[in-house]
């Protein structure tokens, strides 16, 4: 029984979280003695990018180079992945948790009559039955979930396994599928997307600003630090509500849930709803002028002081250590 991994890409660059999903698939196959790890990539992607999928642990990549699949039309992607799943005779589908991934996986669970477990944080435990640990209550707890169906779909949370980079080149198989028109019933009319930015859900370092930053005109300081750290920028909910920052930067319970190795929070009080979006971070640094700010209780490192004094010094210090 092989393991199939669904690859997401942004304009042809394979997402890092999808590469992690491939490494998860490989580790899963090794642990449970499953067969080959096959990846499926939809739309136009270069050979170089497909090569990364091999390094991450796949032995084969099925590439459906159909321009109609470049965009993430949920039904069309679900249909294509289901066809490939059946063709390769897979028993498990692995994918990275994301807004497109969730929607595609949900449709696949019905199509393939498979159990879908989302927010998976570890490899399954098969010592008795098939148990998967997943994150619930927006990172505030975990659930040990027993899976009873034969076919399984695992939507993997960032950092569930280490990304593998030493795999061998995967064999790329170009495949043509026929996907019924009905699957293209939703039409994407335009896209409005920041280019050249580090994407928040993928980022290893995130620098976020809150209402303590006083106004959008001060975000240059956040961006300078982010740039020096190679980080993505985020914000608290009120900041995106007032329109100081775009909505896709809103971190927390009702926004993006991040899982970076380092989260730097500047002028954010640390309300429980904000913490829910950052509690999977490995290290948290808090800069706040109020020593009583609740965020310090969730932090590893902190500086009590004025963000406008500290940020330029911090950016300088990061530059200096390089």
């Amino acid at each position: 029984m092989s393991v199939l991994v669904y690859i997401e890409h942004a304009e042809g660059s394979v997402k890092k979280t999808s590469l992690e999903a491939v490494s998860y698939g490989k580790a899963l196959s090794d642990k449970l003695s499953f067969g080959e790890v096959v990846a499926v990539a939809l739309g136009s992607i270069s050979a170089d990018e497909l090569g990364k999928v091999g390094s991450a642990g796949a032995s084969k990549v099925i590439h459906v180079n159909d321009n109609k699949l470049n965009e993430g039309i949920i039904q069309a992607h679900a249909d294509a992945v289901a066809q490939v799943y059946n063709q390769v005779g897979a028993g498990t589908l692995v994918l990275a948790k994301s807004s497109l991934g969730d929607a595609v996986a949900a449709r696949l669970a019905v199509k393939l009559n498979a159990a879908l477990v989302s927010n998976v944080v570890e490899l399954p435990d098969n010592t008795s039955g098939y148990k998967v640990k997943r994150s619930i209550y927006t990172g505030k707890a975990f659930a040990e979930t027993v899976v009873t169906a034969d076919h399984k779909i695992l939507a993997v949370k960032k950092n569930a396994v280490d990304l593998k980079t030493d795999g061998t080149a995967a064999q790329v198989e170009e495949v043509t599928l026929s996907i019924a028109d009905a699957n293209f019933a939703t039409k994407i009319t335009s896209t409005d997307k920041a280019t050249g930015e580090v994407l928040l859900p993928e980022a290893d370092i995130v620098v976020s600003g809150g209402r303590g930053m006083k106004g959008p005109e001060n975000w240059g300081m956040i961006e300078d630090l982010a740039k020096e750290l190679g980080a993505a920028t985020g914000c608290s909910k009120p900041v995106s509500d007032i329109g100081w920052r775009p909505h896709h930067e809103h971190v927390g319970q009702t926004g993006v849930k991040v899982a970076p190795t380092l989260y730097v929070a500047v002028g954010i009080s640390g309300a429980i709803q904000h913490l829910a979006g950052v509690n999977s971070s490995k290290y948290i640094v808090v800069i706040n002028k109020d020593p009583e700010a609740p965020f310090f209780k969730a932090a590893d490192y902190g500086i009590v002081g004025d963000a406008f004094e500290i940020l330029p010094k911090l950016t300088e210090a990061v530059k200096a250590q390089k």
Partner: protein
Amino acid sequence: MKILVCITHVPDTTSKIHFTDNNTKFDKNGVQFIIGPYDDYALARAVELKDQLGASLTVLNVGEAETEPTLRKALAIGADDAIRVNAFPKDSLFVANQIAAIAKENGYDLIMMGRESIDFNGGMVHGMVGELLGMPSVSPVMKLEVDGDIVKMAREIEGGKEYLEAKLPLIAGCQEPIAEWKIPNMRGIMSARTKPLQVVEASVDGVNTEVIAYQLPPAKGSVKLVDKDNVPELVRLLKNEAKVL
């Protein structure tokens, strides 16, 4: 035009999470339950559409009797009637099957719900319902306008948004800023008491996942503070101690 909004009954976002019975049961002690915040956005937009289009608006929850106050709140916000499928929501597929069964019976043009629940964060019920009904599903939707039988939407993607169009019928998993949360007014609360709330039994069984135990994350150690006049020390710690730079 008939709109269905599916809502979850979940712990308030400020809740501290605890478990009892040897970590096998969620501890409801002292926990306040609310309409899931994402579902609340879906409901708020649905109420606007109802007023704008003269549509009917039904709210649905799969849950036991304890969820009725949550359904009543949705009625107070502006839904016309409510349906409760009397069953513990065992897993996403179970819930999706109940919603699909009700939808087949009643034939809704637009089914809205939150992008995900905030208890299990699966984000999959909308897609499953879409597949069960053979309808398109779009999520996470942050803007939704109905123009005749065409729905115009904005969907959040990593790093931006995408504008889409589809024909009704359609299923939308919603999030902000699709509408502002609505707070029920006195008139709404009064009228909610007499609006119809129908209880039906689950019509489809079958689950393929089961939670057997819960765990809390390990407690966080205390914060290491660096003096504001010694900022480079923070960088040194991140580099040499945490090893993240």
